[in-house]
Symmetry: D2
Subunit: 268 residues, 4 copies
């Protein structure tokens, strides 16, 4: 299927896929410029007008007097004027957020239910999700790796082990994963039996695990996607949803390169 | 515990409880009257002004000419003027919705995860829910009754049985419920073992069922509670969340009696 | 300016212009089909596959047995299958609203401030508006026509004349419009004088009228644009904002033809 | 009128008034504790349990070893444990915002239209405002003081004077204010004449100034009131709306003392 090449795999059976985006870094500038009755004026330093139009400057030169000059293919060196990236940075850093609502993206996501439970707390996104009321859920269940299991045993106390636990060994982790797979298998068998016996779909799912995969489309404007990334790429977010947030981040970067660069700088 | 007396039981282990409400039918009128620079004027017919003020009329009398008169303790019988219930009905029936945002309620809910999954689609409510990342979930799981299981086998095709199923008998239903309880028990044993073995809480929950109970507080203004009730008391809503919606409806009725009466009339 | 050809004039100095749209009738179906794990399947009856693909059927024929057949250019007559327009209609009529959040539009609007005051009550849209704090407002002011002035004198009592008024004659209307234009001129002269005298822009606007034009971009998803149209195309909406709503309606119709057709049918 | 004593005057003819609040600092803690299956435990240090219950400690003593002890009326001095203010601070500082949605306030505001235009950009509040369509607007108009006029002439360039202006003198400011009052008077006369001549209310307001006062009720949860205060108490907010934000801040402080203290600390 050609479509699959656009899917970014996440976890063992999950993925995200960009369905559509709207707006752009330029549109964000245009929206912001409504307040001063102007439009988008251009990125980067320009090297003067000519009959051939305006050219982007190449290569910057720092002079002895600290002024920045750029090499212009038409006019020779020109003193550097800041372009609209300056306004974009100003908007971003001073929380003028509404212009970033004039761009957005629709993303398709396949993820475990416990990831969706966290995702759906973001009330500014639009969701349409597969429903176990209407269609039997496919038999896909999240099995973490041994490395992932051992990750939390020392850091992140709040989301970590209970007080009266022993320390998780690699052997115990492997043992747990075998148990987990067996449990998932039993759950699936019971699910199929119940469905065949005439138990309504909306009830037959009662014992299905929160580790089972579901699928949805999510739509949000860029302001709200950035809010999602801020919370879900943070170190205290659960590792699993963080993998999705990182994948969304990677997917949005080429679509809104200048805004995403500002987002990245802020965090560092 | 004295608090428990305020809990309305729902399903086998769930409940809802009113934590707090704000606003009132009167406050809704006051908010609406902002537009015409007036305030709340009173419910029901009034019997004219006097040096002693305005009195509520008692006892209504229908005259031969079809006009309604009321007995007034000061002025004798007066022709009946409609009170602010007329404005409230006008607002409600003509979808002037913002005045109904000037009242609201906070409710505590214990319900199965699959109910919460539907509930959280209402993005205009505020939620704070128990988190399996931070605390082990109590061992409470939803087991439907035999009657409930047999309910869907004939009606509501969309949410009902799969195509290649046989018809669910009472005996098969009982058999399924025994299986379900055993499955829940196995899931709990595995959960406790994993926690003790040092599996982080946020992962040890992976195989836990969507039928397990969780708990949250939900806050919304009255406009949005009514939107919730409209969708979740509807016949095509899943029976389980409908029980919660009916309980919320019952709980809000004495708090906002006139608005809830209008809500009830609209449906019939 | 080539851009101007895309502007739809509204009132005496206003306009609306489509900046961008996203999604489509098909995308709405795709979003809805997430719930049953399927995608968009096609509009209208199809007349079978061939090496040349699928063709839309032309001309419908009602047989004696009440079945509907369509003439297919490839295979001859085929029995009619309902296409995805049936699902779209179902979604629309049963208030399954979230799929309609998977499409949207950004629109630029020039309108009098009193129109914007009503528009901005729609809290689900994103706005960026010209600001009199940052840039002097252009001297454009709304002057109604004589016909418009006489429109309300008999209908719509609530928004109409005050109690102790006389009936507006055509002559009095003309007289009023002369006064209005003179008032606008005086206001502009005082504005320019104040600005030149060094009164800060954010204060010099204090006496400017709510009939002065401003400009903004507004972004919303299709669900919320339809909500806007429902309220603002209604007969009890002020005539001026109704002209804008009608223009938005006309502008969205070719972009989302099937959804807009359902919207139109609902109203009639 | 006794009600008036609750109004806080703002600007020359404006006010704000607390209509109602819900929730409390304690309720915010309770909402947050849902996640760990606990409730509110108490503020400040406690001095141990006894048959008579838990007592608040009085008077703190700093020992030589830097530990803080408190005098307890029952048990003598006890080492200080942090109370729930520690959790409240953690929530506030780490942007765990949803618990702050479990409290809120309804406020009545009288302010110039240009202030309301900025206020209504906060889309998470509920509004009901006086409407010039339905009732003639009272003749109240904002006239700044001379001091206010001179405030911006040197600072805040963006919202300040236009480029080709001269510097505003005190004399010119007084002159401008006389002009402004005359203009307001002319506007009112024309308004009354138009209304009497039979011009519909919704049109007769066209020339009325954005400096005219209107009135509304606004409702929001505490999270969103704090967001409002952050933006509107900021130095780059217009001085006029800042006066309203400062008044809202003062009004909320005794209602949610601990949360407001955290808000104040953050800014300094």
């Amino acid at each position: 299927m050609t479509e699959d090449t656009n899917k970014t795999p996440v976890l063992d059976h999950g993925y995200i896929k960009l369905i559509e985006s709207w707006g752009s870094d330029e549109r964000i500038i245009e929206a912001a410029r409504q307040s001063t009755d102007k439009g988008f004026e251009g990125w980067g330093p320009k090297c003067g007008t000519s009959v051939d139009g305006v050219f982007d400057c190449q290569e910057q030169v720092l002079r002895a007097d600290d002024s920045v000059w750029s090499r212009c293919p038409v006019h020779g060196d020109v003193k550097q004027r800041a372009g609209d990236e300056k306004l974009l940075r100003y908007l971003y850093e001073n929380q003028h957020s509404t212009p970033f609502e004039f761009a957005g993206a629709v993303i398709e996501v396949q993820a475990p239910i416990f990831v969706f439970r966290e995702w759906h707390r973001h009330r500014t996104q639009s969701y349409n999700e597969m429903s176990a009321r209407y269609t039997p859920l496919p038999n896909l269940n999240y099995v973490p790796t041994v490395e992932r299991l051992l990750l939390n045993s020392k850091t992140n106390k709040q989301a970590g082990v209970i007080k009266w636990s022993i320390e998780l060994t690699e052997e115990a982790a492997r043992y747990y994963l075998t148990d987990l797979q067996q449990m998932y298998d039993m759950q699936e068998r019971m699910y199929q039996n119940a469905l065949r016996a005439g138990v309504p779909k909306e009830l037959a799912r009662g014992h299905l695990p929160v580790g089972r995969y579901s699928r949805m489309r999510a739509s949000a404007n860029l302001r709200n996607w950035l809010g999602f990334l801020t919370l879900r790429m943070a170190p205290n977010a659960q590792w699993e949803i963080r993998q999705y947030a990182l994948a969304v981040h990677k997917l949005l970067t080429p679509v809104f390169p200048r805004t995403m660069e500002l987002f990245d700088k802020k965090g560092s």
